[in-house]
């Protein structure tokens, strides 16, 4: 039984439906990537799973729990955290304060968690008193992921973690994601860098026009001709 499961999700903004019945699953400790053209509904899917949007049909379950339509602050308590694509840090707060905000719902005892995040991202430890607003895009992304890891979640949702990053930083962020998965967290991410993300993913989904188009292991999808033509540039 999967840890996280979205079944036949219909969702969108206002009256406009973007997702017309999308299903995805994620097992514990798995790295799954969702690729697809712009406007396919990838980000909408993550937002719906995290309770920022309410699905008109379909269910989302996390472990034993039905979390369909639950507000984000409740979902967080069930062990799923989310990193938005943009504006995913508090720029005028320091690195450490950003991480503390990630653990806001806990009463004390966050030192061990801080240590764990610093272990994953040693760069952040050296800069923990620095304001995040002054840091580079790659470092900000680490802060954002670190913030989401502070609650020690079972599942992490990442919305295009490498968007707008320079190529060398993309590599760095993907390494961090692999480290997160290595520590036992299941990661479901939406990605534009289809080739690189499939290369590190256990499984992948291809979303087109708000519907599941393909799914398979990362390697399978990488080898697929149609996908190669559509998304991988040849």
């Amino acid at each position: 039984m999967p840890l996280l499961e979205a079944r036949e999700i219909h969702s969108g903004y206002g009256g406009m439906e973007v997702l017309h019945g999308v299903s995805v699953t994620l097992a514990a400790g798995e790295l799954v990537t969702i690729i697809g053209p712009n406007g396919a509904g990838k980000s909408t899917l993550l937002k719906t799973m995290f309770g920022l949007l309410t699905p008109t049909q379909g269910t989302v379950s996390l472990g034993e729990e039905d979390i369909t339509g639950a507000p984000p602050h409740r979902i967080v308590r069930h062990g799923m955290c989310y990193v938005p694509q943009v504006d995913n840090v508090f720029p005028s707060l320091t690195v450490e304060e950003n991480l503390q905000m990630g653990a806001f719902i806990l009463r004390g005892g966050i030192e061990a968690r801080l240590a764990r995040v610093y272990e994953l991202f040693p760069v952040l430890k050296d800069r923990r008193r620095q304001r995040v607003g002054k840091m580079s895009g790659g470092e900000r992304q680490m802060v954002a992921m670190g913030r989401a890891l502070m609650l020690d979640p079972q599942v992490l949702l990442l919305d295009e973690p490498t968007a707008a990053l320079a190529p060398n930083l993309v590599e760095q962020v993907f390494q961090s994601i692999q480290a997160i998965v290595g520590s036992g967290v299941g990661v479901l991410m939406v990605e534009q860098n289809a080739r690189q993300s499939l290369a590190i993913a256990d499984r992948g989904y291809v979303l087109v026009d708000g519907r599941n188009r393909r799914e398979g292991s990362g390697q399978e999808l990488l080898a697929d001709e149609e996908i190669g033509r559509l998304f991988l540039g040849g």
């Binding site: 995290f50 920022l52 984000p72 602050h73 967080v76 308590r77 989310y82 938005p84 504006d87 995913n88 840090v89 508090f90 720029p91 005028s92 707060l93 304060e97 503390q100 905000m101 990630g102 806001f104 719902i105 913030r147 609650l151």
Partner: protein, 300 residues
């Protein structure tokens, strides 16, 4: 003309202290709730009247005066109760009015705050009438320091303002609630995503802003000996001038702005009619909007 200036600087620092206490709260609510609260001045008035009410209540229990000051031990519980009551008032107004407009455009909140300002001012007028009420009739002897007259009350007021700004700094920098306030000022959506109970942070913001406003209102009452329902309206322009001058969201900025406006208003009276004090604040505000709208200490 020039020989009056040292004395005017003393007055300026005192009125700057009162403006600072209002301005830090205004700046705090602005940065977290994202609208200019035009009722903030009237929260100072309500605080001053609450303070006076509690002072009348506690005076028979705690009579006497502190040395050279115009007030005695009764002021301490009176101030604390007034701050708490004013905080409750602000949270109540938020629940009744602003909470329902959280997702509305900022201008609607602005307009609602104008409505709240008139309601609050006239509720005070209704309960206390228009005539001034007196904090004290005690005539204080001023100390002479190098030709400048300074009353003990004035030193006290300045000290309280500095302590309040330090308190706010510590709150924002080192407490969990304060950090959450700054986080919300930065990025309310992310604060929600992180699991921060944003409504509770909003309530704390109102509480701190209104408590400091009450303190400012009471200190103004101590300095002037009296309070009228017009206090908040008369302070509104200096408050905004101070916040814009200092840069929104920074307590030290609000203090810098508050002191500058206080000093400018008082020192200006050496050169132009006292009647135009509010115009001086407005002039600085306009100048600031022209030259550096983000404020002296503002970022961006």
């Amino acid at each position: 003309m020039w020989e009056r200036i040292p004395q005017l600087i003393v007055y300026g620092l005192v009125s700057g202290s009162v403006i600072t206490l209002g301005a830090v709260g205004l700046s705090l609510t602005y940065s977290i709730l994202r609208f200019s609260n035009f009722a903030h001045g009237d929260l100072m008035t309500s605080g001053a009247y609450l303070g006076l009410g509690f002072l009348v209540l506690f005076s028979p229990l705690l009579p006497g005066r502190f040395g050279p000051l115009s007030f005695g031990p009764a002021l301490i519980p009176a101030v604390l109760c007034a701050m708490a009551a004013n905080a409750a008032l602000a949270i109540g107004i938020d629940r009744l009015v602003y909470r329902h407009l959280r997702r509305a455009k900022a201008v609607l909140l602005l307009m609602a705050s104008v409505g709240v300002a008139f309601v609050l001012r006239n509720l005070i007028l209704f309960s206390a009438e228009a005539d001034p009420l007196y904090f004290s009739h005690h005539i204080q002897r001023a100390l002479r320091i190098g030709g400048v007259r300074v009353k003990a009350d004035q030193l006290f007021i300045l000290g309280v303002a500095v302590l309040a700004v330090l308190f706010l700094h510590v709150l924002l920098r080192y407490t969990k609630t304060g950090k959450a306030m700054r986080a919300m000022a930065d990025n309310p959506e992310l604060a929600q995503v992180s699991g921060i109970n944003t409504e509770r942070v909003v309530a704390w913001t109102w509480a701190v802003g209104a408590a400091l406003a009450a303190l400012g209102g009471i200190l103004s009452g101590i300095e002037n000996k009296l309070v009228t329902p017009e206090l908040g309206w008369q302070t509104l322009l200096p408050l905004f001038a101070a916040v814009i001058l200092g840069g929104i969201g920074s307590p030290y900025g609000a203090m810098l702005g508050g002191m500058t406006i206080g000093l400018a208003e008082e020192v200006s009276t050496a050169f132009i009619s006292t009647a135009y004090k509010p115009a001086v604040a407005f002039g600085i505000l306009v100048l600031m909007l022209l030259v550096r709208p983000q404020g002296l200490l503002g970022r961006r």
